[in-house]
């Protein structure tokens, strides 16, 4: 405008370039891993228990924790894998008990060769999983419902098989020693080693193979995956079968460790496996997840159980403490999720 003095020069705001390449400090980039939430939870749990009971960090205790975590963890790995592809399985506890019972029965009452019996039990448990998958996917019922029914059905079958009685195996059977009976190091049972191996295998499949990419896509957005040619039906069906197989394997591990199996054990397994998965950073709705997180989640759950006994807390506390940890860990994961996807 005429006659006016020069307008004050406005400094243009430095507009930050969207998504400009900024190097984060190392610790910040650590946060981009989905497992940080459960790692924190684990540290908190360990600190709390150690401060109250100095024997908590002994080799013996840690060995117990890992052994206990293994039976839950094997199933939790399967649960995560299935959850990432967008489905869930509530029948794992019944599958677990049924398969363990079947293995015990075939060995003791029908005198099968233990190895053959083991293969048969696993084939059955995988079959149960596949059946869950077929019903869910072909008819279009939500997996929650299908597996809820399956949970009740197979539990009933397990009870019927022995009229409610447990089966114990008194002979020393090498297979059972290999499955969970023998200890490899102090208090660590061999089942923990198998669990670690299974964890590694599934980690590789999920993160490092094309199939793993399909699993993420099928759970993340089934329609998009299908439109790009991913065989979503096959992927989900395979995952149902895998979790069934792992549930049966878990049951066999427990038979190996205990020497007995009862049709009423494993009742809380489905929910505990799901809890271990979500604590570990897997999303209940699917599409994102981590196997390492699941392993840590299972260890967290096991630590709580063992820790509460060691500090002499009344047994009733277990439920409350687990509930608290689950909600806190998931909340932490949600907050971290925002960092992980580079929004912050």
């Amino acid at each position: 405008m005429d006659g006016q003095g020069p307008s004050p020069v406005l400094e243009s705001c430095a507009t930050p370039e969207p998504n400009a390449l900024q190097k984060h400090p190392f610790w910040r980039s650590l946060l981009h891993h989905r497992e940080i939430g459960v790692a924190c939870a684990l540290v908190v749990v360990f600190t709390v228990f150690f401060s109250m009971q100095r024997h908590f960090l002994s080799a013996g205790t840690l060995g117990d924790i890992v052994t206990v975590a293994a039976e839950l963890g094997v199933v939790a790995v399967g649960a995560s894998f299935l959850m990432i592809s967008g489905e869930m399985d509530l029948s794992v506890g019944s599958n677990f008990a049924f398969s363990g019972m079947l293995l015990a029965m075939l060995i003791t009452q029908y005198n099968w060769n233990p190895i053959l019996a083991f293969i048969a039990a696993l084939a059955c448990s995988a079959g149960i999983g596949a059946l869950n998958g077929l019903i869910t996917l072909s008819i279009g019922i939500p997996s929650f419902i299908t597996t809820l029914g399956a949970m009740m059905f197979w539990r009933g079958v397990a009870l019927y098989l022995t009229q409610g009685w447990p089966i114990s195996i008194f002979e020393d059977i090498p297979l059972l020693r290999w499955l969970g009976g023998s200890k490899v190091f102090a208090t660590v049972h061999i089942s923990a080693v198998w669990w670690l191996i299974i964890g590694i295998i599934f980690w590789i499949i999920l993160q490092k193979t094309p199939y793993g990419n399909w699993v993420f896509a099928t759970g993340g957005k089934r329609g998009a995956a299908r439109a790009l040619g991913v065989p979503d039906f096959k992927v989900k069906l395979i995952n149902f079968t895998l979790i069934g197989l792992l549930a049966g394997l878990g049951g066999c591990f427990q038979l190996g460790r205990m020497g007995s199996m009862s049709p009423v054990w494993g009742q809380d397994l489905a929910l505990e496996a799901i809890a271990a998965s979500v604590v570990g950073g897997n999303a209940l709705t699917g599409g994102v997840g981590t196997i390492l997180g699941t392993l840590l989640g299972a260890i967290t759950m096991a630590s709580i159980r063992i820790g509460l006994v060691m500090i002499g807390a009344p047994a009733y506390w277990y439920m409350s403490f687990v509930g608290f940890i689950v909600v806190a860990a998931v909340a932490l994961n949600v907050k971290l999720g925002e960092v992980i996807s580079w929004k912050k």
Binding site: N19, K208, K221, A224, G287
Partner: protein, 267 residues
């Protein structure tokens, strides 16, 4: 790393659909629709809601099978039983909502369904390095700046996502790129960018089919415009033969008798 479209005799149309029909129950979604797509041309597919545009492209991309009619690809008769068949031929489709999985990274999305593999004995492993490098190059070519190829797609804007989906097609040597409402949720700036990618695709020899409601978007880039109404083709024009106003008129009011529009197989 884009593959050049392999040369077929240039007079042979890339895609030819002859008398395509599709019924859903008792509703005719498509009735006797002929469509010809030439190499290196952009075709706009317009029409009001329910005209059958979606159904037509789903047939071309292998999602639906036509109840009657034939499909020809580069001079050979084909039957598409799944999206995978279509992708194998080189027909890539970008759906409005179904192009990318938001929870996965850009690199994983880019190679979804066509993952680069390393053979490891009996197993296939992902070639992570190849994925990252190819993705980064594509992002540079398009002009999107990100922190990492491993960022989640949900961090990108709508236009950027469309760009990636289109870039994916060009990378995989597609011969035909089908876009379902690519500009409907975008800003002016982003719309412009997407239209320029379509142009770029045409320059590289791809054919593009572009569904939209917005005639002002499609008209500038299209070589040919096909109008559908209630499952039938009611208009097939070269760009020069018509105008936006006339197209709007046809869509709103139906066919006008004094136009040599119906089933004009010009190209």
């Amino acid at each position: 790393m884009e593959k050049m479209t392999s040369p077929a005799p240039s007079h042979v149309p890339v895609i030819e659909g002859i008398k395509l029909c599709k019924w859903f129950g008792r509703v005719a979604a498509l009735k006797d629709v002929d469509i010809t797509i030439e190499r290196g041309k952009v075709v706009g597919l317009v029409g009001d809601n329910g005209a059958g545009k979606s159904t037509l492209i789903k047939i071309l991309s292998g999602v639906h099978r036509p109840d009657s009619g034939e499909l020809w690809f580069e001079g050979k008769k084909v039957e598409l039983n799944s999206p995978r068949d279509a992708r194998k031929l080189g027909i890539e489709t970008v759906y409005q909502d179904l192009a990318l999985v938001e929870t996965m990274s850009i690199a994983r999305n880019f190679f979804l369904g066509a993952e680069p593999k390393i053979r490891f004995g009996f197993f296939n492993l992902l070639d992570g390095r190849k994925m990252r490098q190819a993705t980064e190059k594509m992002l540079r070519d398009i002009g999107i700046t990100v922190r990492s190829a491993h960022q989640e797609v949900s961090t990108l804007s709508g236009g950027e996502r469309q760009a990636i989906a289109i870039g994916r097609t060009m990378h995989f040597g597609g011969k035909v790129l089908i876009l379902d409402e690519p500009t409907s949720a975008l800003s002016v700036h982003e719309t412009n960018k997407v239209l320029s990618y379509i142009d770029e695709a045409r320059n590289r020899g791809l054919s593009v089919i572009f569904i939209t409601h917005n005639l002002y978007h499609v008209y500038p880039v299209a070589d040919k415009i096909i109008v559908l109404e209630h499952g039938r083709k009611v208009g097939d024009f070269r760009k020069e033969e018509t105008s936006v106003e006339e197209l709007i008129d046809i869509i709103v009011h139906g066919i006008r008798g004094d136009r040599r529009a119906v089933n004009n197989a010009s190209g």
